[in-house]
Symmetry: C2
Subunit: 275 residues, 2 copies
Amino acid sequence: MSQTLGTWVDGAVATAVPADDRGLQYGDGLSETILLRGAAPRFFEAHLARLARGCSRLGIDFTAWEALRAEITRIASQAPPLAILKIIVTRGSGPRRGYAPLGTLEPRRVLMLFAAPATPAVADGVRLRVASLRLADNPALAGIKHLNRLENVLAAGEPGHADHFESLLLDARDQVVCGTMSNVFAVRGGGLITPRMDRCGVEGVLRSMVLREAPGLGVPVEQGSLTLDELLAADEVFITNVRIGVVRARSVGQHHFPMKDIVPRLAAHIETLDA
Amino acid sequence: MSQTLGTWVDGAVATAVPADDRGLQYGDGLSETILLRGAAPRFFEAHLARLARGCSRLGIDFTAWEALRAEITRIASQAPPLAILKIIVTRGSGPRRGYAPLGTLEPRRVLMLFAAPATPAVADGVRLRVASLRLADNPALAGIKHLNRLENVLAAGEPGHADHFESLLLDARDQVVCGTMSNVFAVRGGGLITPRMDRCGVEGVLRSMVLREAPGLGVPVEQGSLTLDELLAADEVFITNVRIGVVRARSVGQHHFPMKDIVPRLAAHIETLDA
């Protein structure tokens, strides 16, 4: 990938991963995408906590937390002022072929440093569309950021995606879940609602910051179900991820949202946070 | 993995794959597991055809078919009398970070040769169990052998799996779909029924051989829906994959099946086929 500034595998500079790694073979692992800002990993503890939850859910016995922590801190200290660090933890290699995670498996960590892409102009809000692909309900995998991301790839590959900032994903019941690389919130009656991540989707770190911070700004927040019609009827809509922050939706398909004040206020507050 | 006899990446001897490969990053690719028997790839055309269908479904523009064909033939000619060749085709690396398959992507192929594991004694039939995990309905990914296999990994990691030959997977409606590494058939009224693979599961190559061959043996075959109760009420049950062939189920959980004649006849016939 053109913007890669460095790759480390289990702490050593490397460019490749053993072909028998279960991350490649089965998508048997997890990832985190951390924003490095001012030589420090933003929302560091939240990322590590989500990674730990994912390892626990998949039964991956990752123990090198101190080494991982030290590596991230060291890489961040030498990174450009704004950069992205992607972390992958897989269940490791072999010793046996096959799905069953048998024998002694040594989880493997891969860190990749990227230049942050140029920030697009998002002050006026961004254009969203609804993907054709429907997310599958899979409670066993919901919420965590595992490596089985073909749904995201297929949705982001749909005609129309490239003309929009993001594509929203619905489930088979036509409930709104998230975007391909973001979470989604609706503002209604002065409060926020965001879809629960208990059947599909990823619990984004920036989403968790909004859930934590909004009440302190006098904005109550609820996790619930949200149909597309309910989303379109919202006063404001925004998406979140750690790279873009809180970004207002100008439109979803042909439906345009008026510019109101809760999203800019929330975005400005979240932008100040580092943890 | 201990039994690896060789690894080739894009035709060259290698042990590793670039860390930015989308197969590792997102499970963005496909696999085939081919049995090499008597220095030749068994069901060669069927495997290549399924791989091509998978590439088409995922929009992976793999074109190196002649090179792949030549490599498989060459590796098979030098392999032990019974061996397994795993093929992975991914969408390749970058050029950009992110889910969208943008820019010039050069699909990558990885071939791994393994000694065939010792054949377990299966003449008396094998013991099956029903996994707790339910397969998610995902028509966009159903049928093809893509690299998003965490469901299989989790089911094969359940307590109880190791004590059985295979775990059967149901969907959220409690319909039988397949095993973690096999397809499943029920014999009733002298005919076969096997679940459709249109919402989840993989269309196994050996499954397709049974569908093709059974009518010629006077055994009609149907693809349909099959509840667990219907499976347990069957006259005979068997599972299939290219490594094990047609293997009779002695039991599913506490339910035992009598030994009858259709499965051994079918197994013996399928065993003789090479294409």
